[in-house]
Symmetry: C2
Subunit: 270 residues, 2 copies
């Protein structure tokens, strides 16, 4: 009853897989980061998928690590805040863990000149936090005044061997990138989130640290999150909610948080 | 339409306030820690309140810091877990911040002999994590095989002045206690949570650290949580959900997580 699409990071790249599932009335959920909240970055494709899913009575959505660690973790903690002025987040992951598609959109292995041309200047590529910030705003009921991103290459002072790229990244070339997305809302709160994806040097680990600034301030740190495993488990845990959701492209900020599944998945569907 | 009861920590102590609200059809929510999940520790009183609330078409519930930081924070992170074997939590707060009722149930200021007699041996006093663990089990859909608690006095090697007790706690006397609650479920997962409430010595801060152990392991740390402010904000943020909940004593593990309120509270009621 459900299909998991775990291939690429941008909606145009997973459109065909989503459309194929929808045409056959099969619910589908994807790790594609843009698909997490694609309404403004790929509006035409998302609306076509939404129509297709409604016509065939199935649900399409995006989920993964971001669903919990850049999404519901923040809104759950925000439930204990009186006043939010600013939300700051930093998340880091090893592009070596996700295959070639993700490594490419991070510019891993490019010279700094290539990075500037292919990644930094390319306005058509929303970084992962872009969609995540929009997901948060939608869940909080905030409308967006402005959204902007800055893509900065990360480098290392020694050569690093990349298994995914199957080559050595020379010292000083891009090992990946840091993407900083600043979202200003009409309600006042500002979200500044930084997402660092790079080929790790020795001794580097995943991190996920957020601050909710206002009254009071709350700081949360996740120590060395197992980002890959958490992505897989979240997608699977979402399946019963995907099946039960209304037909259409139905983003997860409208669902309750993903739920730990003690019993077999069919136990949880209505 | 709603009454906040922020007085004492045990259900027998807040029963009259809850009953008064219920008799007049007024929804009520309390910071009383036992009231967070009182079904097994005060079953008779809770059932009477439940009946009273249903007869008068209003809702009663408990909430506070524990609702987010010992509750939905854990279940939200668990939504990214494939397999949970064990959940471990440690939370610490300054009993100076909560008035005399809380200081008393923590045995602050007692000699170790008095602590042993009045607190440690008193089986009728569930520590805060007891009710919180039961809340978690209910939300996960786990049934409880056994639940046990150990109450250990905390001490300091110097005299500490307590404003709440209005006296000096001599070195070696109880500054409060550490309560460790071990909950074994029939489904397998074990929850071991430790809640430290004491009069802080200089340089001590609140903490809230949890581990979800299984596949994968996830470790979350909240740095110096503003426990008092978070308690107040959570209670207020719960009010629209309290108003909309079905009549009766309706514990918050059955509601969605507390939500940050950008707009006036009435905006969120149905």
């Amino acid at each position: 009853d459900a299909c998991v699409i775990a291939t690429r990071s941008l909606v145009p790249e997973v459109y065909d897989a989503f459309a194929l599932a929808a045409k056959h009335g099969v619910n589908a959920i994807s790790t594609c980061e843009e698909s997490f909240y694609p309404w403004t970055t790929s509006p035409a494709l998302t609306n076509r998928l939404d129509r297709l899913a409604k016509d065939n009575n199935c649900t399409l959505a995006g989920s993964g690590y971001q669903d919990v660690f850049w999404g519901n973790l923040i809104t759950t903690l925000a439930g204990s805040s009186h006043k939010i002025e600013r939300i700051e987040g930093v998340s880091s992951y090893n592009v070596e863990d996700y295959g070639i598609a993700l490594a490419e959109v991070h510019g891993a292995g490019l010279s700094l000149e290539e990075f500037e041309k292919e990644i930094a200047q390319s306005e058509s590529l929303p970084s992962f936090m872009w969609n995540s910030n929009e997901w948060l705003c939608s869940q909080f009921g905030w409308s967006i005044k402005s959204n902007s991103q800055k893509l900065v290459p990360t480098t290392h002072n020694k050569d690093i061997k990349s298994t995914t790229l199957n080559k050595v990244i020379p010292a000083g070339h891009a090992t990946g990138m840091s993407a900083i997305v600043t979202t200003v809302t009409n309600q006042g709160p500002v979200i500044v989130s930084e997402c660092i994806g790079k080929v790790y040097a020795e001794g580097e680990f995943d991190r996920n640290d957020w601050k909710i600034i206002g009254e009071p301030n709350t700081v949360v740190n996740i120590a060395r999150p197992a980002t890959v495993e958490l992505t897989c488990a979240t997608i699977v845990n979402r399946i019963p909610q995907l099946i039960d959701a209304p037909p259409g492209y139905y983003t997860t900020e409208k669902m309750p948080p993903a739920q730990y599944r003690t019993y077999p998945l069919h136990f949880y569907t209505k």
